[in-house]
């Protein structure tokens, strides 16, 4: 158990280091110099040189990399090359918004997908199961931003029930916050739910074929009881994996959804920074998203250890 935990932590750290190197190298070895890019082609050489010095861009790459990592680790990534504003507070602010969005989307997806997937598996031979299965296949094909546009058309433009866009922090006006959260979170959640449903279905179908479920019925449990008491925990392992992997999709989906619903989240910050040629902010945001995904996948590994006792012993 301890060995496994240490192993996982080592893998997490190694992945973080390697991916930070990749991101840094990619942004550093680009043709052109970030100071020049930030100031535009019309800037004078002396202005560029000054900016380079100010942000340590004249230092060797290794020093720059270590400086950048130090900034990330101490939650003080320095200032933007373009706006000269502090990046840290800005990212923290935006991250909060995105986490609300992604969190709510994930919860909605689970609420929709888990019961639906179980139902589809239990009824996989009956028309109701096949219809649900076909519906989920269609749902998978609809990108989140398209779902967002459809939801806006129906619930904001058509029925006028909910605002079409905007964002209010929950502390400021909780009612408005919720109203504005519903449609974007639903856009993200529905598409995730369609994908997740299919994984839940196949995981439950696998479990339904297991001998131990027959043993459970031979003990005197009804089929539903047997599935609930003995099946779900076993079916959870593959589903949790998928949940972890899909967090990356969800975070990136949020980038697009924030654009559709005009929400000032991390995605908007990323897109704005790209337009402003604010490369250091792009680099930081990309790294934060990557870190979040790696961290969640690490947590998923820990969840396995809780769910499946077989993994607690050293054997892999």
């Amino acid at each position: 158990m301890i060995v496994r935990l240490v192993q996982r932590i080592a893998i997490l750290l190694a992945s973080l280091v390697v991916s930070s190197m990749l991101v840094f190298a990619f942004m550093a070895v680009l043709p052109g110099d970030p100071a020049r890019v930030a100031l535009g082609t019309s800037a004078s050489d002396s202005a560029v040189a000054q900016l380079r010095e100010q942000f340590g861009l004249d230092q060797p790459l290794v020093v720059q990399y270590l400086h950048w990592v130090q900034g990330l680790v101490t939650f003080d990534p320095g200032n933007s090359y373009v706006s000269h504003a502090q990046i840290g507070p800005q990212i923290a602010d935006r991250l909060q918004v995105t986490l609300w969005l992604v969190g709510t989307g994930m919860v909605l997806a689970c609420i929709l997908a888990i019961p639906m997937g179980i139902l589809m598996a239990v009824r996989h031979r009956r028309p109701s199961g096949l219809i649900l299965s076909a519906l989920s296949q269609v749902g998978v094909a609809v990108p989140a931003f398209l779902a967002g546009i459809l939801l806006i058309t129906v619930f904001a433009v058509g029925l006028g029930w909910l605002p079409a866009n905007g964002w209010t922090p929950p502390a400021e006006d909780p009612a408005l916050f919720l109203k504005q959260l519903v449609l974007p979170a639903l856009s993200l959640g529905m598409v995730q739910a369609a994908m997740l449903t299919r994984y839940v279905r196949s995981a439950v179908l696998d479990v339904l074929r297991e001998d131990y479920l027959r043993t459970a019925r031979a003990k005197g449990l009804r089929p539903t009881q047997a599935l609930l008491r003995h099946g779900l925990r076993n079916a959870a392992v593959p589903v949790v994996t998928v949940l972890g992997l899909h967090l990356a999709t969800l975070l990136v989906g949020a980038v697009v959804i924030e654009r559709v619903f005009v929400i000032p989240g991390l995605g908007s910050l990323l897109l704005d920074s790209v337009s402003n040629r604010d490369l250091i902010v792009v680099q930081d945001v990309v790294m934060i998203i990557a870190m979040a995904v790696l961290l969640v996948n690490f947590l998923v590994d820990l969840v396995y250890l809780v769910i499946d006792p077989r993994l607690r012993v050293g054997a892999s």
Binding site: I11, H124, V142, I149, V274, A290
Partner: protein
């Protein structure tokens, strides 16, 4: 295996087997038809479109669908139907290149990871897992920030982000092939790893490659649409379904029609490639039904 399993399997093969196969051919058929339709549209756009899809016509703005303009016109007076036809070309082009990049890198990587020593395979897969932290869209935005938005950048970014899917699947297939008796026999006969990889592994994992290519195509279509929607994909004036959606957004209250056509086109194309992938998977290996 127990007598029970044998008996049950024998018992369920007849009418059950038929029942099981029906949806399989269903998804293969529907998926194949949709993919053929998209392909047909793209080919058609080379020889004929009702109007020039990029022609701005200020006297024909926001026309409702008519005989002249089948799907109506957009706010610049461009024919929507012609744009949809041309858009299918963009979509397929991006898909082909992205899947090509992913397969060319991912398949050899998967085979090497599966044939090489265990620690080597594990290491490669760890790297693979790390790539999952950079989904296609994130990678493409990063690329666009550095190199500027272009179709090429989008294609390469989507392709790189799809490598892990190929590598993981092919490694799994390779590990299975390596356990088969004919490979063990070939190794015992002193055949080199290169010969075994080329002669035994590659042909046996090729069905996996085809299946993953189809599914990868669906992912690429989705990613391209999202990128174009964000303005990081195909630059104007080349028509793209994603950008058509983005342009339609400001007119949602007056002309939702403009969102419907590209939206349906994207969803149907993705559905088609997904169904084709599912159908092929079941076709190649019926045992894998219900597993994804």
């Amino acid at each position: 295996m127990s007598a029970l399993v044998t008996e049950a399997a024998v018992a369920s093969e007849g009418p059950d087997g038929r029942r099981r196969r029906r949806p399989v051919t269903g998804s293969l058929l529907v998926g194949g038809l949709i993919v053929a339709l998209v392909l047909g549209m793209a080919l058609l756009s080379f020889v004929w479109t009702p109007h020039d899809p990029t022609l701005v016509n200020s006297s024909a703005r926001l026309q409702e669908p008519s005989l002249e303009y089948w799907f109506g016109t957009d706010k610049f007076g461009r024919d929507v139907f012609s744009q949809i036809l041309m858009g299918s070309r963009t979509t397929l082009f991006v898909g082909f290149v992205a899947v090509g990049v992913a397969a060319v890198v991912g398949v050899p990587l998967g085979i090497v990871a599966g044939m090489g020593p265990r620690w080597f395979g594990e290491l490669l897969m760890r790297g693979n897992d790390m790539l999952l932290a950079f989904p296609a869209l994130l990678l493409a935005i990063m690329f666009a920030a550095v190199y500027g938005a272009s179709t090429l950048v989008a294609m390469v970014a989507i392709g790189i982000a799809s490598i892990p899917n190929f590598a993981r699947l092919i490694r799994g297939g390779t590990l299975q092939v390596m356990k088969t008796e004919y490979v063990i026999a070939a190794r015992a006969a002193g055949r080199g790893p290169f010969a075994i990889g080329l002669r035994h592994v590659l042909p046996n994992v090729s069905s996996l490659v085809i299946v993953q290519a189809s599914v990868g195509f669906a992912i690429a279509v989705l990613a391209e649409a999202a990128l174009s929607f964000l303005g990081f994909g195909t630059p104007p004036p080349t028509p793209s379904w994603g950008r058509m959606l983005q342009e339609s957004q400001e007119l949602l209250s007056s002309d939702p029609r403009l969102a419907v056509f590209p939206g349906v086109a994207i969803a149907v194309a993705v559905l088609g490639f997904n169904l084709l992938g599912d159908g092929l998977r079941d076709r190649f290996d019926p045992k894998l039904e219900d597993h994804r």
